[in-house]
């Protein structure tokens, strides 16, 4: 087929298209996250002291850093779906934000927590459950971001997939944080990071396979 006949085929019966809007896509992700959080809390699993979050620097740190990371990573992921976006720098920025959140966790440990034995602080049995929960809670957002990525035109799909995974992991961790009973920053840093990293790795492995420009 010649270029001319291809152009004639493509331009005949041309239907109008709805332009991609990052604001609309961001709204969709936010709405899905809000619905997921509402359904999760409707199960009655929320920590009883969440209403007094203002009085606990640890809870403020956990919810604030996870919320900020989720918002920043979602914005970065959605922006990276544009063909002209350069997501490498954004992924590094999200990594720096996560590192900053981790470092700041050292200053918010409740009294007495730091005196416990390391294994008690990390509590691997609960931690694995926590990381698994984060992974499962991140799946809806990951599915939505994957669908948005397929519909868009990222020219660096591996980085876009990684950004989507970080965003979905941060959203899952944010939702899970409402019920997590542990008050140790070390526990949060270790297991939440493992949960988010697992989601990011799964997205990085799976999403580019389903995408072709």
């Amino acid at each position: 087929m010649s270029n001319e006949s291809l152009i004639a085929d493509l331009s005949s019966d041309l239907a109008p298209v709805q332009r991609r809007s990052m604001l609309r896509e961001g709204g969709l992700v936010f709405a899905l996250g809000a619905v997921e959080l509402a359904l999760f809390l409707a199960l009655g699993v929320m920590r009883p002291d969440m209403h007094h979050m203002g009085g606990s620097p640890f809870l403020m740190w956990r919810m604030g850093s996870l919320g900020l990371l989720a918002i920043a990573a979602c914005a970065l992921a959605i922006k990276s779906y544009s063909p002209t976006a350069q997501p490498r720098r954004g992924v590094m920025l999200a990594g720096a934000l996560a590192a900053l959140a981790i470092v700041s966790g050292a200053f918010v440990a409740p009294e007495g927590v730091a005196d416990r034995a390391l294994l008690d602080r990390i509590d691997p049995a609960s931690g694995i459950l926590c990381a698994t929960s984060i992974f499962l809670l991140s799946l809806p957002v990951m599915a939505l971001l994957g669908a948005l990525m397929r519909r868009a035109a990222p020219t660096q799909p591996r980085f876009s997939a990684l950004a989507s995974g970080i965003a979905a992991g941060a959203c899952g961790a944010f939702v899970f944080a409402f019920c997590c009973p542990f008050n140790d920053p070390l526990y949060v840093i270790v297991w939440y990071s493992i949960g988010c990293a697992a989601v990011a790795a799964a997205a990085r492995w799976r999403l580019p396979r389903r995408f072709r420009l």
Binding site: N3, L6, S11, L14, V17, R19, R20, P83, A153, L213
Partner: protein, 167 residues
């Protein structure tokens, strides 16, 4: 493009015709002549499928260049996967301009590779020697030559992916 997004077929046809000329020039500098038409058509199809992703607030050039570069990388990957054919003894010679530019771009890209990789790619992919002939000339085993070609092309693809979209 905005008119095309709104379903205006005539404007879209004119736009695609202009884009196809630009794409032909773009790919002539970067691909073997036999691959140019395929690359242009693949890119036109991608533009058609993803036309809703163009944001009218931004210029069209970078959007088009980003998609073209992505298709260029795809084409290089498919070239690397394709089995190598022997070149015929007699090859028709046409306009040299595109070949000269390609050669200049290729030479600067090959400079980025290890000498063994660039030599293997130059002999087999550019000058048309068989793997056995190239291995005899370089003094490496045929499997080492194949490995150098494979790794060299992968490295070239990575280098190209990192370069900014500048036409």
């Amino acid at each position: 493009m905005v008119a095309a997004q709104d379903g205006h077929g005539g404007a879209y046809r004119r736009l695609l015709a202009e884009m196809s000329e630009w794409l032909a020039r773009y790919f002539y500098r970067r691909l073997p002549p036999g691959e140019v038409d395929d690359a242009v058509q693949e890119t036109l199809l991608a533009i058609h499928r993803r036309r809703h992703t163009y944001d009218p607030q931004y210029p069209l050039g970078p959007w088009l260049a980003a998609i073209a570069k992505n298709k260029w990388v795809d084409q290089l990957r498919s070239l690397a996967r394709r089995p190598m054919d022997e070149l015929p003894d007699v090859i028709a010679v046409g306009d040299h301009e595109a070949a000269v530019i390609s050669s200049s771009v290729l030479a600067s890209l090959l400079d980025e590779l290890r000498p063994a990789q660039s030599q293997a790619i130059l002999l087999v992919k550019v000058q048309g020697y068989s793997i056995e002939e190239a291995s005899a000339r370089i003094g490496l085993s045929p499997s080492a030559v194949k490995m150098n070609i494979h790794r060299g092309l992968a490295r070239l693809t990575a280098i190209i992916e990192k370069t900014p979209d500048v036409e």
